[in-house]
């Protein structure tokens, strides 16, 4: 089998354009790779029949854009009309949406081919994809390690070179953290950059869809087609159309970079800190200034996240009640039993915990004590980031505190899934864009990510820094080590 899928998107585009290959070659190769790597458990649903059909249809069309005929994987919390969308939950095990998310419409317009829906934490609640009703995906770098989460399946299928591109969603790190663990590039765009219409909501004021790719350039290219104001999503922002790749290749000399002291404190393992310090040295060598600063309230971000995300989630997930769609408890003795048994059987423990705590947070006087106060402090976090961006071009740190841990390790601590995201959550509180880029490997040869935070709507600038570092590091990011399959 030819290894077309190891080539860059631009190379594939040239081959397709010159008719040297057909979309079906790519689709067949993708399914072949998926089949051979079944054990990774990246996918919940494969779209093989439809994908092959579509690839055939595309043969009659002109190759009109960079992404024409390119296979892509979609996180399973993004609604695809006619294609099962489960959110990795039993409650949506047989749910087939009757409409498309806006990003899916955009992908279809570009004639990309959806190969399947990727595994994830149930309703994107978790940090290792182990809360999936369909069992956890595995890390292509080491089968015994977690992928991270919640977009674990998307990260693993790109990392394992099963597909070149995937979509993830990020509420509190769910794109960046698994990207770090799997050694790929993951971008959570500015809140409002990409339409959320059709993304099954977890925490509406934080959720954002973003691209997960093998390298920086392709990430920027994919964001080009995802973004834009959508009349169906009132939080999507009206911005002038721009090319996110336009600064790639430019020099970074003179750029001002800040490192929050919190991001290099002892919450981060020394191994990860060492890797990060190498990056800081590199940047200084290349003419950037690097200052260590304090960002007020940043250490409260996880607490705010817990309050606001669980509160919003308790409302967002109330609609799953066995009445309109999804799993419905059979022969309930009354309405109450329909509700409580449907949700007892339909949801996993992580989801149950979060919506119970969310209900508690909003109940009676608690709304004031917890929720209102968290919204108040959230405003201050945003302001302190804004203050920092008056002086600095970027804020950087490690994406994760440690390398990916063992998939069989059991944690009895319900706070664990939040603490795994301690370095990436502040970005969602402020609504800023954040990108994770592989910055090296640990002694166990597991990738770890560099977290680049940009100012609002400055994704293009972030891609410039990221691609510069990517070029300097020249890491081999193919977990197969360049070996044949």
């Amino acid at each position: 089998m030819s290894k077309y899928l190891d080539k860059s998107i631009e190379e594939l585009h040239k081959l397709l354009k010159s008719k040297k290959i057909k979309p079906i070659d790519l689709v067949e190769e993708a399914f072949d790779r998926i089949e051979k790597n079944k054990d990774l458990n990246c996918f919940i649903t494969l779209n093989k029949e439809e994908a092959l059909k579509k690839a055939k249809e595309l043969e009659n069309l002109e190759v009109d854009n960079l992404f024409f005929g390119i296979p892509i994987a979609i996180k399973d919390n993004i609604c695809t009309e006619g294609l099962r969308t489960t959110c990795a939950s039993k409650i949506l095990e047989n749910f087939v949406p009757i409409y498309n998310a806006t990003v899916i419409d955009k992908i279809n317009e570009k004639h990309m081919i959806i190969v399947g829906k990727t595994n994830m934490d149930e309703f994107a609640m978790g940090s290792c994809s182990k809360t999936s009703y369909f069992k956890a995906p595995h890390n292509p770098w080491n089968f015994d390690k977690i992928t991270g989460g919640s977009s674990g399946g998307s990260a693993a299928c790109v990392s394992g070179r099963l597909v070149p591109l995937a979509l993830g969603s990020d509420t509190g790190g769910s794109i960046r953290q698994p990207s770090s663990h799997c050694g790929i590039v993951g971008m959570k765009p500015t809140y409002g950059r990409v339409s959320r219409y059709g993304l099954v909501a977890f925490a509406s004021s934080m959720d954002q869809i973003g691209p997960m790719t093998r390298n920086v350039l392709e990430n920027a290219e994919l964001l080009n087609i995802l973004c834009g104001k959508d009349p169906k999503d009132l939080t999507s922002t009206d911005k002038k159309e721009e090319d996110f790749t336009r600064f790639i290749g430019e020099n970074i000399k003179g750029m001002k970079i800040a490192v929050p002291n919190y991001f290099v404190s002892d919450i981060v393992s020394s191994e990860v800190r060492d890797k990060f310090n190498e990056i800081v040295k590199l940047l200084k060598d290349k003419g950037c200034s690097v200052d260590y600063i304090d960002i007020d309230y940043i250490e409260n971000a996880v607490t705010l996240y817990q309050i606001l995300a669980m509160g919003e989630a308790s409302g967002n997930l109330a609609r799953f009640d066995g009445v309109k769609y999804g799993y419905s408890y059979e022969n309930p003795k009354d309405l109450e039993e329909l509700y409580t048994k449907t949700r007892q059987i339909g949801f996993g423990d992580e989801v149950k915990r979060r919506i119970m705590v969310g209900s508690y947070i909003l109940s009676g006087e608690n709304a004031n004590v917890y929720y209102d106060k968290a919204m108040g402090v959230r405003d201050d976090i945003k302001k302190s980031f804004e203050k920092a961006f008056k002086k600095y071009d970027f804020i950087i740190g490690p994406t994760t505190t440690t390398e990916a841990y063992d998939i069989n390790e059991e944690f009895n601590d319900p706070s664990k899934s939040f603490l795994d995201d301690i370095l990436v959550i502040p970005v969602n509180m402020a609504g800023l864009p954040g990108l994770s880029l592989p910055m090296g490997f640990t002694n166990n040869h597991l990738p770890v990510g560099l977290h680049i935070i940009g100012n609002f709507f400055e994704e293009a600038k972030m891609y410039k820094l990221a691609s510069f570092i990517e070029k300097e590091l020249k890491l081999n990011l193919d977990p197969r080590g360049g070996k044949d399959e």
Binding site: Y191, T237, L335, L338, R343, S359, Y360, S363, G376, D379
Partner: protein
């Protein structure tokens, strides 16, 4: 928080409409207590201003023109409905209202 009682667990389970089996109540009691201890840390945050952030966006809500768009065929509506009678979605008797 000092402690979380069994009754309080059942109360939040009721608010969330989740049935708990007898053996689950204690398990969730311990777990929820841990999470509630986490969120209690908000009480220690000092010196913040009163302004609240509901959503990170800075723009106002654009308003939609009042003109009719595409609607669903009734058959499409029923595709995912677990229980229906004729044109209607069916549920167990609604007692309260």
């Amino acid at each position: 928080m000092d402690k979380l009682s069994r009754e309080e667990v059942l109360h939040v389970a009721h608010l969330a409409r989740i049935n708990l089996e007898e053996d689950e109540i204690e398990k969730f009691r311990v777990q929820l207590k841990k999470l509630m201890d986490d969120i209690d840390k908000i009480k220690d945050v000092k010196d913040y201003d009163e302004e609240m952030l509901i959503s990170p966006v800075d723009h106002n809500a654009p308003l939609r023109e009042d003109s009719e768009g595409k609607m669903l065929e009734y058959k499409t509506v029923m595709k995912n409905v677990p229980h229906s009678t004729g044109n209607f979605v069916e549920v167990p008797v609604m007692l309260n209202e």
